[in-house]
């Protein structure tokens, strides 16, 4: 049973770490010698890399906000899990924890969708999607499953 607890926490923390990396590292789209979004655009020419702040459109700011909100909600969910672990009655469900984690996953999903649909407005030369973008998409199902597990979890003793 302790193993189950540990597994659930590890899953949650993994989703949280993926969210962190996806938000902080600015590598959502890229060229062979440049990477850009969410916060800066960095290009490497002849070994010298120059970074400019990212475009300040409405949509990219919405994506920034959604990613940050997903991190906050996932963090709150982890905190609430430990709170509820010690204060919930026997047989109670971790509804609040699960709800927060599911909200976090929904925020990541909407952030990634908005980015995918609207990024033609500010991205001009890009060949492929960077690893931060992929991590965001991976974090979404992880967080969602983690939230669902919390909803079906019951407290014993």
């Amino acid at each position: 049973m302790l193993l189950l607890l540990l597994g659930i926490v590890v899953l949650h923390v993994a989703a949280l770490v993926l969210l962190f990396v996806s938000t902080i590292v600015s590598a959502w789209v890229g060229n062979p010698n440049s990477s850009s979004d969410l916060w800066t655009n960095c290009t490497t020419l002849n070994g010298i890399s120059t970074c400019n702040p990212a475009d300040t459109g409405v949509w990219i700011q919405a994506v920034q906000a959604l990613m940050i909100l997903s991190i906050i909600f996932s963090f709150l969910s982890l905190f609430l899990f430990f709170c509820q672990l010690f204060t919930l009655q026997k047989g109670g469900r971790f509804f609040l924890t699960g709800a927060f984690q599911i909200f976090a996953s929904l925020f990541v999903m909407s952030g990634a969708i908005i980015y995918t649909v609207m990024n033609f407005e500010w991205v001009h030369q890009s060949e492929f999607y960077g690893f931060s973008y992929i991590l965001a998409w991976v974090a979404f199902p992880l967080a969602f499953i983690s939230g669902l597990i919390y909803v079906v979890l019951r407290k014993r003793e």
């Binding site: 049973m1 302790l2 189950l4 607890l5 659930i8 702040p53 300040t56 459109g57 409405v58 700011q61 919405a62 920034q64 906000a65 959604l66 940050i68 909100l69 906050i72 672990l85 010690f86 597990i149 079906v152 979890l153 019951r154 407290k155 014993r156 003793e157």
Partner: protein, 248 residues
């Protein structure tokens, strides 16, 4: 130097002060100190005013920058500060230097109570004088601005005999669409969502508190002391190592 014109408050420094003739009590000395301090303050302020009115020039105020959308009207405000009273011969003049040009052209002049608006330059039929010179306001209104109106506008005001001073510049930026500052929308979205969260939590706890209070007061009125004894027996058990299990 008009030092002779400044009135010196001699009467406050007379040696035959009425309070000194009696036995100086504690309150009399305090009052005397206060009087001396006030008179020194008044003296220094009058001296400074007297000196300042001769050396400070006229100061012209305008905005630093103005941002406007294409096709809108822009009001360029200009005001000045001067120690002299507003003279009937006050003059305002506006010059315009386009972005990238070296020379500035004159586009507006107000003198002798009559505003002279540009009728040949780039702002013909587009400029209006909306200022109030008697209130030291020499603002102009530019209508229907375009990208060609980007540049630096200079306002120069003169208030005879106070004529020495430097003009003030305001830069005009004309945009197609108003640019959004970085982080404003991000912060707004985060703030709204977190605010809603806190609001919902607060309402939830408030409802719980109100309901609990109502239930408590109802039970008190119905059962009296008996009810209190029953509630005390239900206590929470000490939490052991928590275990969880999954069930559907």
């Amino acid at each position: 130097m008009p030092s002779g014109l400044i009135p010196f408050p001699f009467h406050l420094f007379s040696f035959h002060h009425p309070s000194l003739s009696r036995n100086p009590s504690h309150t009399d000395l305090r009052g005397e100190q206060r009087e001396i301090m006030l008179s020194v303050l008044a003296l220094t302020s009058v001296v400074l005013l007297g000196i300042a009115s001769q050396t400070t020039a006229i100061v012209v105020y305008t905005s630093w920058e103005r941002h406007a959308l294409v096709g809108t009207d822009v009001r360029l405000s200009c005001s000045f500060f001067s120690w002299q009273w507003t003279s009937p011969d006050v003059t305002f003049s506006w010059h315009y230097r386009p972005d990238g040009a070296k020379e500035a052209i004159s586009i507006f002049h107000y003198a002798g109570g009559i505003p002279y608006v540009d009728t040949k330059g780039p702002f013909r039929d587009r400029m209006e004088f909306v200022g109030n010179p008697s209130r030291r306001d020499g603002s102009i209104l530019l209508k229907n601005v375009d990208f060609a109106d980007n540049g630096t506008f200079t306002c120069d005001a003169k208030n005879p005999p106070d004529i020495a001073g430097s003009p003030s510049h305001v830069r005009l930026f004309v945009f197609e669409k108003v640019p959004v500052q970085a982080g404003v929308i991000t912060g707004a979205i985060i703030g709204v969502v977190l605010g809603l969260l806190i609001l919902i939590v607060a309402i939830y706890y408030l409802m719980r508190f109100l309901v609990a209070r109502r239930v408590f007061s109802l039970s008190m009125s119905k059962h009296g002391r008996k009810g209190k004894g029953k509630e005390g027996s239900q206590q929470k058990q000490k939490p052991k190592v928590p275990l969880v299990f999954i069930s559907f």
